[in-house]
Symmetry: C2
Subunit: 132 residues, 2 copies
DNA sequence: ATCGCAGTTTATAATGATTCTAAAAAAGTG
DNA sequence: CACTTTTTTAGAATCATTATAAACTGCGAT
């Protein structure tokens, strides 16, 4: 399995459930955005067996902590995750409630002039809300 | 009362509760960020009488709809609101879980090059996460 | 291979922010 | 005041997420 190493190197045991979730999340051409519920549906369909919801949450949080996923800050009732962990930005289509990637090259360089004492910048994220 | 007109002009009846919440939210030098629970505490202390939690929610949402407040997209269990409704950006101090304003002038001009067919840009918000 | 243990999964319960409900109170109108 | 509409309210409901604790599994040591 191609994800066994990845998991072992992260100190995560390559369990059947984690490997299945890896397939769904990472074995694709394109990266994508998802909620936990969307992921659960995808697993059920693509791997056609169910993984406990608690395990899906646990795994997503474990992967996030290891840097394989990131959370997108959106005002939505459900948390959105992204399999694209490179620095990039987002459109948020308010009507469709869908995220669309915005490459760094689609946004001019962002220069934060203000400094906060004793703190360093961890990330800079732009959210562009879209309406009709 | 200085907020009676403001409410009437928005089609909101100037009730005792709304006026009290106006005092807490808008009768200050500086704008600020808050969660519903922080606002409830502030009301209890500053106006020393309690307003039903449902009313605080109702009022905050009514004010948001009228454009007197805005919601800040953050990954937090509680929703954050802002009494500063001008276009501006935010630092988010991950350890303190506090928002700090970033003026437009503290961030270079942002130019979104990508266009989405049939959609227009409603807002552009930058979130800068801070760590130690 | 077997043992033993820490790590993981799971069903289910608990939590907690937010929303809903429907009855009582207050505001606006004349 | 009498009447209508809006608002407030306490409490219940909702629902995404997290906690629990028992069963299971991966894996290194014997
Ligand atoms: Mn989370
Ligand atoms: Mn809300
Ligand atoms: Zn993305
Ligand atoms: Zn602000």
């Amino acid at each position: 399995m191609k994800y066994v190493e990845k998991l072992r190197n992260s100190g995560l045991r390559p369990t059947k459930q984690r490997l299945q979730i890896c397939e769904v999340l990472f074995n694709t051409e394109k990266t994508f955005h998802f909620t936990i519920n969307e992921l659960e549906q995808k697993i059920k369909k693509q791997a056609n067996n169910k993984i406990s919801l608690a395990t899906v949450y646990n795994t997503v949080h474990a992967f996030e902590k290891k840097g394989y996923l990131k959370q997108i800050p959106i005002n939505s009732s459900e948390t959105y995750f992204d399999t694209n962990v490179t620095d990039h930005h987002h459109f948020y289509d308010l009507k469709e409630e869908k995220l669309i990637d915005l490459d760094n090259s689609d946004v001019g360089p962002i220069n934060i002039l203000k400094k906060i004492n004793g703190k360093k910048i961890k990330s800079v994220e732009v959210l562009v809300k879209l309406e009709d």
